[in-house]
Subunit: 140 residues, 2 copies
């Protein structure tokens, strides 16, 4: 059972805490919607009016570098962030743009790259297509 407390999470990843960093990590942990920088910035701006967008950029990048968050480049328009760092895949609906978590296929552990002449630090698996709710709308 992983600890989803913002402060603890920061400390576990060796990130020095601050009001802004705790708030941003807290947002990530509580909103599994894969928010963009702007979404985090707008949402937290209500509580921290002085918050700078640059801080959100820097902080999310910092989290990703320390492995405390995942940077997702699935949508070519904007980078999204994911506070869940346990291995999982993603699905993006091409119609509504929603991004959701997907359990990894069971066989995936054994799926190592063939003839790899490189050191793997991150593995990314994602699917694109049409989500159920968009498919249902199309039939109406």
């Amino acid at each position: 059972m992983t600890d989803r407390n913002a402060l603890d999470t920061l400390q576990r990843y060796g990130i020095h805490p601050s009001v802004q960093r705790i708030a941003i990590m807290d947002y990530l942990l509580k909103h599994c919607t894969h928010p963009t920088v702007d979404e985090v910035y707008v949402a937290l701006g209500k509580d921290i009016p002085t918050l700078s967008k640059t801080t959100v950029y820097n902080t999310l990048r910092l989290f990703a570098e320390h492995g405390a968050a995942q940077m997702l480049t699935i949508d070519e328009k904007k980078v999204c962030f994911d506070g869940t760092v346990t291995p999982h895949a993603h699905f993006m609906c091409k119609r509504c743009g929603r991004l959701m978590d997907v359990q990894l296929p069971g066989c995936f552990q054994e799926c190592q790259p063939v003839g790899a002449d490189f050191i793997v630090e991150e593995t990314h698996l994602y699917y694109k297509g049409i989500c159920n709710s968009c498919a249902a709308k199309a039939n109406a």
Copy 2:
């Protein structure tokens, strides 16, 4: 053996050919370096001086929509394009930024998403890490 002729490729994917489209597809097929829009634009500008960057954007997007090319969003800085559409994975070196093709693990065909309540149209698998040549440099 797939046909790597530009005109034939366009027709196979139902894309109406034009001088620009043929040139762009030809470039993709002959340069497996996963070029960006700008790289294609600069390279073809020598032969087609009137070429517009907008056309390159539109055309590569069109190719991707028709399945004649793959849009890669691995590097968060820029979108790359891949003329190879047979299933394969990618590796990006975090140090030198190079992007290369990787053979899919054999078990991957059976790797379907678990409990998928969506229609999969594309599957993307890639790795990030350090390539051999960068790792060698680090040891010097």
